[in-house]
């Protein structure tokens, strides 16, 4: 056993016990019951499980839970809710930027990480930031547009 791992999850203190080698995704979906980060490949190749660690996007399926001690983790559940959506979530709904939606959790948090450091990204910069996330339904253009729309609204101070 690794023992207790204490970290910050979506702004609140969290603590889990995990067997050595347990991934962050297993901890999130298993112990903590946070199902928003998706299992997609288990190899860090598709981005469906992306969460933010210290504000940076990482593939939760390949990072060991033990590495999180003392760190802050943000998942899709920490982005916003239907009552208080993040501007990205509003923009994705406004532009209907999704089909099956399985990729969206990872894409939304990856986009948040981008906008937190680059409030006015070009289309190419958005594409680069999302390149670790696969989308099979072919909604890429709407997603790129929605991230750009959210960026504009956030810069202009438009409420979500």
């Amino acid at each position: 056993m690794t023992g207790a791992i204490d970290f910050t999850l979506n702004g609140k203190a969290a603590s889990v016990e995990a067997v050595a080698g347990t991934t962050l995704l297993e901890v999130l979906r298993g112990d903590l019951g946070l199902m928003g980060a998706r299992y997609g490949c288990g190899l860090g190749q598709c981005g469906a499980c992306t969460v933010l660690v210290e504000g940076r996007p990482v593939n939760a399926c390949v990072i060991e839970a033990a590495a999180l001690a003392g760190k802050s983790v943000t998942t899709i559940e920490g982005l916003g809710t239907s009552e208080r959506p993040h501007p990205l979530q509003t923009a994705f709904l406004d532009l209907q930027a999704g089909q099956c939606g399985y990729c969206l959790s990872g894409i939304l948090v990856s986009a948040k990480a981008l906008l937190d450091t680059n409030p006015a990204p070009s289309r190419a910069e958005i594409a680069t930031a999302l390149n670790g996330c696969l989308c099979r339904c072919g909604v890429h253009n709407r997603i790129l547009d929605a991230v750009a729309l959210a960026a504009t609204r956030m810069r202009d101070g438009v409420a979500a």
Binding site: G30, G36, P85, Q96, C100, G101, I126
Partner: protein, 701 residues
Amino acid sequence: MIPGSLAANPRLDRWVTFEADGRVAVAFGKMEYGQGIFTSLAQMAADELDVAFERLDVTPAATGEIPDEGLTVGSMTTETSGASLRQACAEVRALFMAAAAAKLGCDPSALDVRDGAVLRDDAPSGETYWTLADAVDLTRPPTGEAVWKSPDRLTQVGQSQPRLDLPPKVFGAAFLHDLLPPGMRHARILRQPNPEARFVGLDEAAVRRAAGEDVDILVDGSFVALICATESAAARALAAAEASARWDGVRDVPPAFGEAVALTDMPQTIHTAGDPAPDHSNRRRLTASFSKPYISHASMGPSVGIARFEDGRLTIWTHNQGVYPMRALAARITGLDAQAIDVIHGQGPGCYGHNGADDPPIDAALIAMRRPGSPVRVQWRREDEFAYAPVGTAMLIELSAELDASGRLVDYTAEIWNTPHTGARGTAVAESALPGYVAPGPQPPRLMPDGSRFSGGLLNAIPSYDIASKRTVEHVIDPSPIRTSSLRGLGGPPNAFAGEGFIDELAEAAGQDPHAYRLAMVSDPRGRAVLERIATMSDWSRRWETGTGRGLGLAYDRHRGAGAFCAVVAEVEVEADVRLVKLWCACDAGLIINPDGAKNQLEGGMIMAASWTLKEQVKLGGPGIASTTWDDYPILRFDEIPPVEIELLNTRDKRPYGIGEISQGPCMAAIANAVAHALGARLRDLPLTREKIAAALLKEG
């Protein structure tokens, strides 16, 4: 006339009810997985009933709760389910009008409905659907006499309605994968390397050590499941089981079987149709051979299934393409009576046809039958989805044509080699592991309602032009060397890729512009309008000389020869690789229910087709599929996506056609034609990779 699904599920209350005040519950037998059908069908119902869209509740899919409409396939929901739901709603509206007229003592012609309230001579009558609900018996069958609204009276159909299924997906809560019934246990399956392999044994101690908690090792024949309290433990147990498992009868598939050309040497039946063979007159004759490889559905989420067997009843949770077909499949495999099985549908990742979604629910059901009580969840891994889900068949397509003296196409033959496009339908991968399993023989022919043979391989085998004489020769390889089944569009998109590439070659042979050549062979005014529109949208007249490294390619297709009309133009740049500069699409699919949803589907189909065209090939090796990760099976990424421009034509007056499968074929061909234009050399074998481009240029040079 009563549409088929309504005739098969004739009680009106199976489709529409008014149980909660101010709410309308509508039910239909098609599954939502991101195509937007819940929304578009609800729009149709709201329009026929004259209620606000917001009043509608779509009944979640489960056996017993919704009408049986079979599988959600073939891009047919709008056409078939839509027609039945509209008819049911029109019937229900007419019954309520009759009831209101009786109660109010007036003629029904004096009545109308506005947002569920009955108007008499345009004034509120005090009656609504809900005040009248007790007086109207909806357990009756339709009369077939109620009339749909004419297109000019539709107010909700044709509006871009935000999708009902999307909000939960942006807030992280949507999928069956997230369902955790109390007491649920997690299982992983130790899968046979190949269907003939027989389980000999494994190192149980190693499996228990690796799991680190209790593990129930279930063995029945070659069906081996590892059942734990947590998914992580089951995953660890499986890794140890795979490392120590011993099998008899493992056989390897030659990697060369992954190429379409290998199909020609496999056992096959041959089916010919169409006009007699040409007389080989002195007309000009051309031939060319095209191919596409095995292609994976490559759904973003590996499939999941949950099952519980308790008190003689089996309950299955699935994200597959139809709850009733799942019930039939589970009944056949478990031996239970179908009436003892409940199937509940949950949202899943896009499937694009028959992916792995049918399988984990059957895995889970087989476990649940042997371990009654607790719900059992089986989550496939990415490598399971790539290796064991059915894939779309490879196709070899040899085309020949004859041109008259003016260069016009007058005789066309398509000779096709493929495995059955719906081969694995109604089967589960677990079956071959069970004791007493007998491999099924070749598929019996599937017949159309008119008695003719249906084959997915023949869809769009003949290009959508006025051609005097045409024929098909189809070689069906059965059994398939690997597990194949329906992939979005079946043979339609590959045939369009081949046929429309060949048409470009014929235009070149005739010394004509590809657009003008096509237009001269299309007499249908709707087809002509689509072709003319795409030329304007893409500024086709700017098309430049061949072989500059930059290409503009066109393709046109009428879906299955009888559906929507679709034309695509692609602009590309080719150096070592193909870079997509822009894609345009003009489409006439008749009445459009949800324009924004339709465009989303068309564009998604184009991007998927671009990915098929440029990147995708299932690779064989070892006992089956060797490409089991995204590194082995790359798809198009964000930085490779071109802008896409789509226009919908003729969206009000004609009957609606399905649009989910119509844009891929023209898009594949348009890209390939653009690449040929850029290179001055044609690549006829997908995918159009860097290696194939280099080889084509060497051959040409």
